[in-house]
């Protein structure tokens, strides 16, 4: 496949379309907006550094859905499968757990296990980032200069993601936000503005009652 691509590139006959494939997996952010805003503590960080919903605790407020900068987590509206195990999840938040149950038993997540081309790989985050950087360098050396990593920077707006992607175009082409920032980054300022507004309200009420005209 790569040979065909390289030959097409050399002949200048590259067709004007291509396949771009990505999984819509949870990014397992270092600064996870969903986890920050969850009012019940149903979302928690596991011992693996992943972010998981406890379905017995979630009350389905949906705040995490609006807070996720990647649009990953959602409320389950319909039973997609039958059976008691699924019934409990209707109305509450659901997302990828990076197979918390499987990795607890030293198994790979199901997606990484099932992927026949090892396009999805699982392992220690530092090692994965390193492998991804090597792969990008190899792609660059082969002329695929558009290859770039996504989520591998611990200094980005979400503190880096646990799921690192190798993209061949701008992130938004894949439906990914180009520069995600966790919404709670601005929360101190949001609270300050709301505090000022609250004081304004108290002052307004006081002035209203102190004012003249006691008719």
């Amino acid at each position: 496949m790569q040979w065909a691509a390289e030959q097409a590139l050399a002949e200048g006959t590259v067709p004007d379309f291509r396949w771009l494939i990505a999984s819509d997996v949870c990014k397992h952010c270092t600064h996870a907006g969903c986890l920050d805003v969850c009012p019940t503590g149903a979302l928690f960080r596991t011992e693996f550094g992943t972010v998981v919903v406890q379905d017995e605790v979630c009350n389905g407020c949906g705040y995490c859905v609006a807070a996720c900068p990647f649009g990953v987590i959602d409320k389950r509206k319909d039973p997609t499968t039958t059976g008691a195990a699924r019934q409990v999840e209707i109305g509450i938040a659901n997302k990828c757990t990076l197979c918390y149950d499987r990795i607890s038993l030293d198994a790979k997540p199901a997606c990484a296990q099932a992927c026949p081309t090892t396009s999805i790989q699982f392992g220690d985050l530092d090692e994965m980032r390193e492998r991804a950087r090597e792969r990008v360098e190899a792609l660059h050396a082969n002329g695929f200069t558009e290859a770039r990593l996504y989520g591998a920077n611990p200094n980005d707006g979400v503190g880096g993601t646990g799921s690192v992607f190798l993209l061949l175009d701008e992130p938004e082409v894949y439906g990914l936000p180009p520069d995600p920032i966790v919404t709670t980054h601005d929360l101190p300022d949001i609270f300050r503005k709301a505090g000022l507004a609250g004081l304004t309200m108290l002052a307004g009420a006081a002035v209203s009652f102190l004012g003249r005209g006691n008719s």
Partner: protein, 387 residues
């Protein structure tokens, strides 16, 4: 230790062209999302600064998900503001000896709080688990803080309303009357203490999300919301209470409406691209609701100024203020939902942020031959990044 997965997207030079199930135009966006899976020419950097320029997306599908909320949440926002403002009216009435206004405002606060709480609980995917809100207190979660504010406000407002009822029920010579004023005053102060947080936090609730419009207007929205709550509460007092006692309520309604209108104009002016779903002349549910809100506010102000001491006019004005408050909440709510559905409002501001950062990096690192990483601050090591 964290775990990771790497995902590799591979090129293919042949294969059927997938026919996208595009929902272009559904959101009424100015920009046409990708209509075909053809790789488009990469945009020039200059295009980024032009809001109407084409932007890339995955077949026009949203990046962030709209909040899974319906009319119950804006109902909750409106009635919460009304309850909070009414508690303040009740405190003021108590301190200035307006007993009728005090009673009506307390009962209004309790009624509005009831509507607010029912709407919030009903909106949950699992209403039976509402109490889980009170299992933790999380400062990073406005929903958690709001639940606690609601609980505190509710407790004091309940006591205040019970105290009003007790004044009718308890005989004048009963011993309870010795303690009733203490309870009464305590309930007033308590409800007053929670009132401003209750009115202001609803703006935080919306703004602390990835929803572009809600987050983008966080500086002005709490002022619009507390103004709206004051106008609604003042208006409610004008409806329920004789004009002889409602002079302060009229002033509060006027001040609140003025604050709301001013904050909202400012908000629209400062919002930039993410303010697009707001403007009132634009078609769409949000624009119509917000247009109605302004019209109702102005009607209320006009009636109050011209004939606020005449009861029928006061009642009409009070209803107009409440209509304005409710439509403001619904309008802001729908504007946010629209902004989440259209990837433009998520992608374009973020691309602008990257471009601004690159421009700054290029300025300060102009002597450096290598291009700084597009998505990274200058400190990180990312020579591979070629954006």
């Amino acid at each position: 230790m964290s775990d990771a997965e790497e995902l590799r997207a591979d090129d293919s030079t042949n294969g059927p062209v997938p026919q996208p199930d595009t929902d272009a135009g559904e959101s009424g966006a100015v920009t046409a999302p990708a209509a075909a899976p053809v790789r488009r020419r990469r945009r020039r950097r200059d295009d980024i600064m032009v809001p109407d320029a084409a932007f890339d997306s995955y077949y026009g599908r949203s990046v962030v998900k709209p909040a899974p909320w319906d009319y119950k949440i804006p109902t909750y926002l409106y009635s919460g503001g009304l309850a909070a403002g009414s508690a303040l009216v009740a405190v003021g009435a108590e301190m200035t000896g307006r007993t009728l206004l005090q009673r009506n405002a307390r009962l209004t606060a309790l009624g509005a709080l009831g509507v607010s709480t029912v709407a919030l609980v009903a909106d949950l995917g699992r209403p039976s688990r509402f109490v889980n809100m009170l299992r933790v207190m999380k400062l990073t979660s406005p929903m958690s803080i709001g639940s606690w504010i609601l609980a505190g406000f509710g407790a004091f407002t309940g006591v205040a309303a019970a105290s009003e009822v007790a004044k009718f029920v308890i005989k004048p010579d009963s011993a309870i009357n010795r303690y009733l004023p203490i309870v009464d005053r305590g309930a007033s102060i308590g409800a007053g203490f929670f009132s401003a947080p209750l009115a202001a936090y609803t703006a935080v609730l919306l703004s602390n999300t990835a929803t572009p419009t809600w987050h983008g207007i966080y500086r002005e929205l709490p002022f619009a919301f507390v103004g709206s709550g004051m106008a609604a509460a003042g208006g409610a007092a004008m409806v329920t209470t004789t004009t002889r006692q409602t002079a302060p309520a009229r002033r509060m309604a006027l001040g609140g409406a003025a604050l709301e209108l001013t904050a909202f104009r400012l908000l629209e002016h400062n919002a930039g691209l993410v303010g697009e779903p707001l403007p009132q002349l634009r078609q769409g549910k949000a624009g119509q609701l917000l247009g109605a809100s302004t019209a109702l506010s102005l009607t209320g102000i006009g009636l109050t100024v011209l004939a606020g001491r005449w009861r029928p006019a006061a009642v009409l004005a009070g209803l107009a203020f409440n209509g304005a408050s409710a439509t403001l909440r619904f309008g802001v709510f729908h504007a946010g939902i629209e902004s989440a559905k259209d990837p433009k409002y998520t992608v374009v501001p973020q691309k602008e942020r990257i471009a601004a950062r690159e421009a700054q990096a290029a300025l300060s690192w102009s002597s450096n031959a290598s291009t700084p990483g597009a998505l990274r601050p200058p400190t990180s090591q990312s020579p591979q990044e070629l954006a």
